[in-house]
């Protein structure tokens, strides 16, 4: 009796060694990836300053000062600059004397918001559509994926431009417009995964237990496609931020006095020779953010790829 009890505790102790789940494993690999960790740190900084922008800003984002037009920050090297902004204008001022630091932070809010919301739209559409197509059986699947193929051959930037013109540069619909075009690849990925998952025994078990098709998709299929989806979303966000900046450059993006990195960069490019800081700071912020997302995406892929295990 006592012997049996001690064997039990030995067994319990053996089971107390924490197991390594897929996600714990992935987290360990991700933390070991220097580029990804730096990316996450940079991204956290940018996001935090963007969220706290109203608290950090010494000036309102739309306050003009006609005494300080395109002035360099105090620490700017060289004597080429026409004037010095002085005071708390850390990044200098723009063509109508607005503080560039504040505008870069507010631009970050818009760019990040567009990136995240549009990716979320593409995530929901893509996962829903892909899982459904993979699950419903070959005939409807064929039809649904043909539709995706058709949309694939539409020149995508053209579609976004047409949508932006139609909705008259409505800021919120821009999220939807970009997200609605980015969901195609997601749908393909999820559908492929679903096709292989639905052959597995646990789906059969779920059906035998009387689980309906929609709960099967939500409870059993979607959780199993998470890892490729996470990787793809991380790589979608920078694409969307770039797409938004293209639209802004073409004059179809967000409107003044609100701003985004794309708007700031295209305005900075106009004055590149006389006021290079106007191009430099927004480009630096945007490039650092896009770099971070790409590094995190690559790191996640390496961390979650079972081939490497």
């Amino acid at each position: 009796m006592t012997g049996g009890a001690s064997a039990d505790t030995a067994l319990d102790r053996a089971f107390d060694v924490p197991g390594r789940s897929l996600w714990a494993d992935a987290r360990r690999r991700l933390v070991g990836n220097k580029a990804a960790v730096i990316g996450m740190a940079v991204l956290a900084c940018v996001t935090l300053t963007a969220i706290l922008a109203p608290l950090l800003s010494p000036y309102p984002y739309d306050a003009t000062d006609y005494g300080l037009i395109s002035c360099a920050p105090d620490w700017w090297p060289g004597s080429g600059a026409m004037c010095r902004a002085g005071g708390e204008h850390w990044f200098g001022t723009d063509a109508v004397g607005r503080d560039l630091f504040v505008r870069v932070l507010y631009g970050a809010r818009v760019s990040l918001a567009v990136g995240l919301v549009a990716s979320l739209v593409s995530l929901i559409l893509g996962v829903g559509y892909g899982a459904l197509a993979g699950f419903v059986g070959p005939r409807l699947d064929e039809l649904m994926m043909r539709f995706v193929d058709v949309l694939y051959s539409l020149p995508y930037i053209f579609l976004v431009i047409v949508l932006m013109v139609i909705f008259n540069r409505n800021f919120y619909l821009m999220f939807v417009a970009i997200g609605a075009v980015e969901w195609l690849t997601m749908a393909r990925i999820v559908r492929g995964e679903t096709l292989s998952i639905r052959q597995k025994e646990f789906i059969e078990a779920a059906r035998a237990a009387g689980v309906g098709p929609f709960s099967t998709i939500l409870r059993h299929i979607v959780p199993n496609v998470v890892s490729p989806v996470v990787v793809y979303v991380t790589l979608t966000v920078p694409n969307v931020i770039l797409a938004e900046s293209f639209l802004s450059f073409l004059g179809l993006g967000i409107q003044e006095p609100l701003t985004s990195w794309g708007v700031l960069i295209s305005q900075g490019a106009d004055q590149m020779e006389s006021a290079p800081w106007l191009l430099m700071f927004p480009t630096l912020f945007m490039a650092a953010t896009l770099f971070s997302f790409n590094f995190i995406g690559d790191g996640l892929r390496d961390a979650l790829d079972p081939k490497d295990r």
């Binding site: 043909r146 539709f147 193929d149 058709v150 051959s153 539409l154 020149p155 995508y156 930037i157 053209f158 579609l159 431009i161 047409v162 949508l163 013109v165 139609i166 008259n168 920078p238 770039l242 900046s245 293209f246 450059f249 073409l250 794309g262 960069i265 295209s266 490019a269 590149m272 020779e273 191009l279 480009t283 945007m286 490039a287 896009l290 770099f291 790409n294």
Partner: protein, 314 residues
């Protein structure tokens, strides 16, 4: 094989029909019309204009009129550029855009393949890391940043090279003079080169690990033969399926590049058309490019089968 090509070609028709329908009705949802001007036209003139372009008919009739023209390869008259048909406008812009696009593609392939191969051969070396950082830069820095920077450096400041002062024109077309082509092509080629380099590096690394490369090494083949004859052809296969998306990337780039460098290509017409509600012009450009992408994808599939003996189409 022939029947596969035939079936795929037949499949192009419904695909195009969906695209035409979608773009046609999407465009008409837009508020405002092509003939809205600052000055109010007298109602009878408005009516005449609308009648001349069939705009007074119900939408579904306009749709069928458009389809009827389309099957006769007529993209209709441009609403805004008077006395020009859409086909004429596209024919005017296309040689310009094509020259930029093909030039950029050629440069991207040459540099992308060599850089990618180099990086794969020296995996995890300084060369590998610098190629990959360059690729990341090429992908993340938008062309509307590289364009003005290159303009400033090579156009405004000028660069000394081998004792010659090099100064390139920063805009205009000048009938396609080589000097005018350099900067726009460089800007277009940069992101494309970056993507090609990443693709080639990835597949090259995989190929170099495969058994037959080890066999080739064991036979004592010189390294350059192993790389050029045994490793490169299969490593380039993923590039073939990148053909369609590559073209789409070029299009996005050319919208911006044509605008920055004031080049009279198709992209510029498209943006002007979209902003001015020139329905037929926008539709025409979308349909033209969609057809091109569909055909490119078909060619890519066939090429894939021709290059990879494991792929069979029935």
């Amino acid at each position: 094989m022939t029947s596969f090509v035939f079936r795929r070609l037949l499949g192009v028709i419904p695909t195009l029909l969906v695209i035409v329908t979608l773009s046609f009705f999407l465009m008409r949802l837009a508020p405002g019309g092509p003939f809205d001007t600052q000055r109010r036209l007298p109602p009878e003139i408005q009516r005449n204009i609308a009648a001349a372009y069939d705009l007074n008919k119900p939408l579904y009739q306009q749709y069928f009129i458009y389809l009827d023209r389309l099957v006769h390869f007529d993209l209709g008259p441009s609403y805004r550029t008077k006395d020009f048909t859409v086909s004429e406008l596209i024919a005017e812009g296309l040689p310009v855009s094509a020259r930029l696009g093909l030039g950029a593609m050629a440069i991207a392939l040459v540099f992308g393949i060599s850089l990618g191969t180099l990086a794969a051969l020296r995996q995890n070396s300084a060369a590998d890391y610098s190629v990959m950082s360059f690729a990341m830069l090429g992908i993340t820095i938008p062309s509307f940043v590289t364009a003005p920077v290159l303009m400033l450096v090579f156009g405004v400041w000028g660069v000394k090279f081998l004792g010659h002062d090099i100064s390139l024109p920063v805009g205009g077309w000048n009938n396609g003079a080589v000097a005018n082509l350099v900067l726009p092509i460089a800007v277009l080629a940069l992101p494309e080169t970056a993507i090609v380099a990443r693709l080639v590096r990835g597949s090259m690394v995989e190929v170099l690990r495969s058994n037959y490369i080890r066999t080739a090494r064991a036979k004592g083949l010189p390294e350059h033969l192993i790389v050029l004859r045994h490793a490169l052809p299969p490593a380039l296969l993923p590039l073939v399926s990148y053909l369609g998306p590559a073209f789409a990337t070029l299009l996005t780039g050319s919208l911006v590049v044509e605008r920055i460098f004031a080049i009279p290509g198709v992209g510029r017409y498209f943006i002007e058309g979209a902003i001015n509600r020139d329905y037929t012009l926008v539709l025409g450009v979308v349909i033209f490019y969609a057809t091109f992408i569909i055909l490119l994808n078909l060619v890519a599939d066939l090429l894939y089968a021709a290059l990879d003996p494991r792929v069979r189409y029935r």
